[in-house]
């Protein structure tokens, strides 16, 4: 369900921002960003700060590796928006073919054994966390 208030912005400021950023981007501002602007006293800035820390903060994982993990969770949860969005960011720091091989079958993809074993943990976390 897409609410009109999210689609167009819930305040004059949000509406103006959505228009300006869409123009600068040369594309329709994705719904993920529209949701982040919605009722800013509720979830947007808090979730944004957490996401920034997890995805861009200091880590032994590269930004591309973390974006690929996000795309993998999206794949396991059948979320085509997040697969597309985070695959597109991942391939700016890794080979297209590696990202696609991983999304097809991470067990056989040409990735490090550390990343492969970590993806197994994340798959269990996402799909089989029953105890």
């Amino acid at each position: 369900m897409r609410l009109p208030e999210i689609e167009r912005g819930d305040s004059l400021r949000s509406r103006a921002l959505i228009r300006i950023i869409s123009m600068a981007l040369g594309a329709r501002l994705p719904d993920a960003a529209r949701v982040a602007f919605y009722h800013k006293d509720f979830v947007g800035p808090v979730l944004g700060a957490w996401t920034q820390d997890a995805m861009r903060g200091p880590s032994e994982w590269s930004v591309a590796e973390r974006e690929l993990m996000a795309a993998m969770v999206a794949k396991w949860n059948s979320c085509p928006f997040c697969v597309g969005a985070h695959r597109a960011i991942a391939v700016r720091g890794m080979d297209n073919a590696v990202a696609d091989a991983c999304l097809t079958d991470y067990h056989t993809a040409p990735i490090s054994e550390a990343l492969r074993a970590t993806l197994a943990v994340l798959e269990t976390m996402t799909l089989h966390l029953t105890n």
Binding site: R2, Q52, M55, M69, N77, F81, I89, R92, E113, L122
Partner: protein, 62 residues
């Protein structure tokens, strides 16, 4: 199952901190994917995903 997999990851060279960082990414995207699907996010074209990716690398998430 999970403990054995975590131990296998450490045996494969993953550090404990890397496991923590990866778990944070997965926890976050287990929430975000549910938002995206519940709110029926429109699916951009490949070209639009690429433009948005450039913006997300430059500007980040905050």
């Amino acid at each position: 199952m999970k403990a054995a997999q975590a131990q296998a990851a450490i045996a494969a060279g993953t550090t404990r901190q890397q496991l923590t960082d990866a778990a944070a990414v997965a926890a976050l995207f287990n929430i975000i994917t549910r938002y995206a699907n519940a709110l029926d996010f429109a699916i951009p074209t490949d070209a639009e995903f690429e433009k948005a990716a450039a913006m997300m690398l430059k500007r980040g998430y905050a």
